[in-house]
């Protein structure tokens, strides 16, 4: 179960999963389960990625400023404590038992994004170049993306009577013209490195090898099927508020069931028509007996 890029399998079915599947198999859920991994079609390793090294971040917030400027985001009335529909990236300071650190919040640009998977109208999509982009002209404002994103990234314009979602675009428009993301360009401390995912993972592993102070894990390498934004830190990722995720794409179960819809539909139609036919015959039989 390795893919074209010799990557670790993003998800291995355990015995428990298999047995559970067998239980629901009657509904046709075993139909083409490989379709659950839409990202298989995207050459993720050679697509755009970014590495954020928390140990290098000085918390200057130049990235926030550059992001707001490039994306023409309106200023916030008060400094927000979390990303919002108009603040797509944010540096937060962590102070705790494990020490001190900064953390950059932004869209993780998952390889198999939950938001893309659940979006009712396909307003969100993962591009081949790497970014997860949002088509403002399609969004109906159902906010399922907010509900499903494991990182809580998509934010809604609550104050707008015709509100839309706001989130980091990985500066898809800049990437298209050969520029690197505005935040990466603005960072004066070398905390943000831009390149292909393969390069970023190599770079991250090199740094871990060279400096034993790092936590021996690149967050985003496998989480939720992998992300395009990768993280290095000297403080445990859970401490910094990163969710603990398995290596399967978050929505692999719902996609598997959704893919089985045609089978469920045909099966249900056949079963209910069959029941009608049988019970009608039974009733006719009973009536004949009465006569």
């Amino acid at each position: 179960m390795t893919n074209d890029h010799g990557q670790k399998p993003s998800h291995t079915l355990t015995r428990r999963d298999l047995l559970k599947l067998a239980g629901v198999g009657a509904g046709g859920l075993l139909l083409r389960p490989e379709l659950a991994y839409a990202s298989g079609e995207v050459d993720a390793e050679n697509a755009a990625a970014m590495l954020y090294d928390a140990t290098k971040c000085i918390g200057c917030r130049a990235c926030e400023v550059a992001c707001r400027e490039w994306n023409d985001l309106p200023p916030e009335p008060e400094p927000p404590s979390d990303t919002t529909a108009h603040t797509w990236t944010l540096i937060k300071q962590y102070q705790g038992e494990a020490g001190e650190s900064f953390r950059k919040y932004q869209c993780m640009h998952c390889l198999d994004p939950a938001c893309v998977s659940v979006c009712t109208v396909g307003a969100l999509s993962k591009t081949e170049e790497g970014p997860v982009v949002y088509d403002t002209s399609k969004c109906i404002g159902c906010r399922y993306c907010q509900y499903a994103c494991p990182f809580g990234v998509p934010k809604f314009e609550w104050e707008n009577p015709l509100g839309l979602i706001g989130k980091c675009t990985f500066c898809a428009d800049r990437l298209a013209t050969g520029l690197i993301p505005a935040c990466a360009e603005a960072c004066p401390a070398g905390a943000l490195t831009f390149g292909t995912r393969k390069q970023m993972l190599q770079e991250a592993r090199k740094r871990i090898k060279q400096n034993p102070g790092y936590i021996d894990h690149v967050y985003g390498e496998t989480e939720g099927g992998g992300t395009s934004i990768l993280f290095l830190s000297d403080i445990p990722f859970e401490e910094l508020g990163f969710p603990t995720l398995g290596s399967a794409p978050v929505t692999h179960a719902s996609v598997m069931v959704a893919n089985a819809t045609p089978v469920t539909c045909v099966t249900a139609a056949a079963v209910f028509s069959g029941i009608y036919w049988l019970t009608k015959r039974r009733n006719e039989g009973l009536k004949e007996k009465e006569i």
Binding site: V121, T279, K280
Partner: protein, 395 residues
């Protein structure tokens, strides 16, 4: 003598009924005004929804109401597909409930959408992986099916025998379509949560969610029919057949037994049974939900005293409804970790007012429809009436 007793009882009900109807109309009007206010000023100005709680009271109620409206497909299935003729007398009230329930769901969805001006977006733009996309389509198509099922009653009153006959001829394919569409979207409501495994507490996340949501919609549909029959027939002055309603309760016992076996069996199977007995806030909510929604109907509907008593059936069906609402709200709120740990949500006045307004309007429309249409007749009885060309209500 029976005639005078009926007349006096009718007068008694309509006197109190006027007050009830007045209150319902006032609540509906308040809902309309607050709903328009919400549409004009936005979600942030009128609700306590936030980036941590993007879904709130309205969607919690929608999930509950869709299961309650399951009365229509459940009874259509029982009467037309299982050919259990005994239950024909409750078919029309159940279909009316489904129709009004689904229209209410659509109204609330529209008010909840961030872009209500683009409510039609799922028609031109498709994402076949999205459970919500499937639900949107199923609800749209199923509402059309419900309209076809309710249309003969209205058209019969409007003297359109040809169309009524055509609809009557199509009843089986229409019923199959309705049952298939319901099977899909009732189960897909469960699939919606399959998309958030990490965020959902393990007591509310299992691969079986689609099946559990489907089964509970059938169980709810049976109890919803009992509840609506008892309230509706009292309001309209009709005597329901208690043995028929008890029979529905009996069917639902088997549905809930299967539900419990699957839900508890799944926890046993995955080795997560301990979470049930953690007796923290989550497991307490789980127990309340399981006891009200599944255990109570299994025990109560099997009791002979309940089977013979209208109030016994009424309270049991009400308990099931509360339990199911609890289940749907638990899955949406308590079972799910918010993005911001520690964030909370409680609905605003506007959220309550809109929700109550829609429910009041639904009750009002149900009552008026039951007064004006031959809801408490079976198809055969209506045909007899038409043949006699006697004015309705004369006896």
């Amino acid at each position: 003598m029976a005639m005078t007793a009926l007349t006096t009882e009718f007068k008694k009900i309509s006197a109190r009924g006027k007050i009830v109807l007045g209150i319902l109309a006032a609540l509906a009007a308040l809902g309309l005004v607050t709903g328009i206010y919400r549409l004009l000023t936005g979600l942030g100005a009128t609700t306590n929804l936030s980036d941590s709680y993007p879904w709130g009271l309205w969607l919690g109620f929608d999930f509950t109401l869709i299961a309650f409206g399951g009365a229509a497909f459940t009874m259509a299935m029982v009467v037309h597909l299982f050919n259990l003729e005994k239950y024909e007398s409750v078919l029309r009230p159940a279909i009316l409930t489904g129709f009004i329930g689904y229209v209410s769901v659509l109204v609330i969805l529209l008010i909840d959408l961030g872009r209500p001006d683009r409510f039609w977006g799922f028609i031109p733009w498709a994402n076949i992986h999205s459970p919500l996309f499937e639900i949107c389509w199923c609800i749209l198509l199923y509402t059309i099916v419900l309209t076809l099922e309710i249309a003969p009653l209205v058209l019969g009153r409007l003297n359109q025998p040809k169309i009524v006959r055509a609809l009557h001829a199509a009843v089986i394919p229409v019923t199959v379509a309705g049952v298939v569409l319901s099977t899909l979207h009732q189960s897909t409501l469960g699939t919606m949560y399959l998309a958030l495994p990490g965020r959902t507490h393990l007591l509310w996340w299992t691969w079986l969610l689609p099946i559990l949501y489907y089964l509970s919609a059938i169980g709810m549909g049976l109890s919803a029919t009992i509840l609506v029959m008892l309230i509706g027939s009292k309001a309209v002055g009709h005597e329901p057949k208690v043995d028929v309603l008890a029979g529905l309760g009996n069917i639902s016992v088997w549905v809930w037994v299967l539900y419990l076996v699957l839900r508890i069996g799944d926890l046993l199977f995955t080795g997560d049974l301990g979470a049930m007995f953690a007796f923290d806030s989550k497991s307490t909510l789980f127990w309340i939900e399981i006891l009200l929604m599944a255990v109570a109907p299994i025990v109560l509907y099997s009791t002979s005293q309940v089977q013979k008593s209208k109030s016994g059936l009424f309270w049991t069906a009400l308990i099931v409804t509360l339990g199911l609402g609890f289940n749907r709200f638990n899955a949406m709120f308590s079972g799910r970790a918010p993005t911001n740990v520690g964030a909370t949500y409680f609905p605003t006045f506007v959220e309550f007012a809109v929700q109550i307004g829609v429910l009041a309007a639904a009750a009002l429309v149900w009552y008026l429809a039951a007064r004006l249409l031959p809801i408490f007749e079976t198809g055969a009885e209506s045909e007899e009436h038409a043949a006699e060309t006697a004015p309705a209500g004369a006896s």
